[in-house]
Symmetry: C2
Subunit: 299 residues, 2 copies
Amino acid sequence: MQFAAQFDLFDYLRMRQGLVNRELERAVASAYPERLYDAMRYSLMSGGKRLRPVLCIAACEATGGSAATALPTACALEMLHTATLIHDDLPAMDDDDYRRGRLSNHKVFGEGMALLAGDALLAYSLEFIIDNTRDVPSDRLLRVMRTLIHMVGVHGAVGGQAVDMESEGRDDVDLATLEFIHTHKTGALLEAAVVTGAVLSGADEDLIARMSRFAQDLGLAFQIVDDVLDVTASREQLGKTPNKDQAARKATFPRLLGVEESVRRARDLVERAKTELLPLAGGAAALLSMADYVCARSS
Amino acid sequence: MQFAAQFDLFDYLRMRQGLVNRELERAVASAYPERLYDAMRYSLMSGGKRLRPVLCIAACEATGGSAATALPTACALEMLHTATLIHDDLPAMDDDDYRRGRLSNHKVFGEGMALLAGDALLAYSLEFIIDNTRDVPSDRLLRVMRTLIHMVGVHGAVGGQAVDMESEGRDDVDLATLEFIHTHKTGALLEAAVVTGAVLSGADEDLIARMSRFAQDLGLAFQIVDDVLDVTASREQLGKTPNKDQAARKATFPRLLGVEESVRRARDLVERAKTELLPLAGGAAALLSMADYVCARSS
């Protein structure tokens, strides 16, 4: 599958990231109570890759919708993702002092305010969608909301984090549990990004199902690569503390399968993911390039 | 205003609380990951008064809707309320070891799991509304969702808690700030309960605005009475640690106005609240009785 070769991913990402960053900047303009907004802004505007927002926009565009239609949901995905990161970094959870190359939220604003900033972003993300999405029927918007809520809660990111926490320091964590953790903790929001993009454009059920499978495979590949990078990369490359997983005796793919087999598995998943997009032909160029990019990070 | 005198509030509350408790029991039936569900259930099923759910049902019934229509939103309100309580009790926030006469969530499940249980309840509450509400048009349901999200987030409970935290230990907290804290921290969800009940029944804008003002006055009265009880009641009566506010040097109504003037102000607010319901005549009996009940707690 070479037909994404001509696509300028760098240019595509830069344009979409710019759109998202400008809209996020507007979304969390300072207001009372200032310190809460400061805490929300600090983590939201800390220069993430905006992978989930761009996936959402790309999925919407690939299925015949516009970037403008997807933009509020794209921003909401980044808010939800940031909320989970702020909470995950807290001492009671993963206890990480660094995130995206800067001090974690609670190291700057204190644990209480960090907790509230996460809660606030979680709620605000959904309000932002309702207030800013134009020309999308209410029932379609409800489906978008349901998908996001489902994927961030007990059936998604929060459920994955709970199993992750319970598994820490245990030697009997098997591959099925590890895959559950990652498909929920990381995969769910990536899937939500792609699926909501397709729902917003009015894609049919077959296409939505394809997008969902594409995102599931891509999400798992993404997490495998993350695990591999945790072993092989430096703090500068990661923007966060490396070897955290090993230090915490966490189950990881490299630990269960070895680095080489992990990388091979990620590549297989990405190849399978890409076949789901065949019906979209040239329209899928951005999504295909992004899928390749996920794997390229590991090599 | 005596026309609520014949109304059997005890019977009304018992019936509605029973409805809500049975539905909540069903809503959080155990599933994987069990410990997360256990933590959610522990706080959700700890025997609260279900004030917000009953207010939502009463508002829906008073404006021509049914209890069944309001029930999913009523349950969601209790989930949202419980989520904020779990997070507020954490050591990084109000640091309270007791809630509703039992150990706080984090004292039983640990801080990390308590944090996740709060997040999970926040997300699940909204999913529960979408999945279980019957015969309500999508645009009306979106308005219900927006109201809840707005009232729990930075413009509501979370914003109020942020200002509360910032004000702790300061001597210069004035009455305006104190009212901001309470109208947001406690009042917002009470208002959301009443307003969503009216929206679900299809009430007109004038009636929704009246219900909103009713709930705002009632909510502030409720919090004033809570402050008064914190000074005058025992741990057994409160089900949580008494004199916490005083110990934390928190601004409270009794501290700023004295106990007697605080009680008088709460009564005035309740009387004003009740006048908003005049157009509903007999249909408002439950809401009027509940308003009276709020004040009666303090004497």
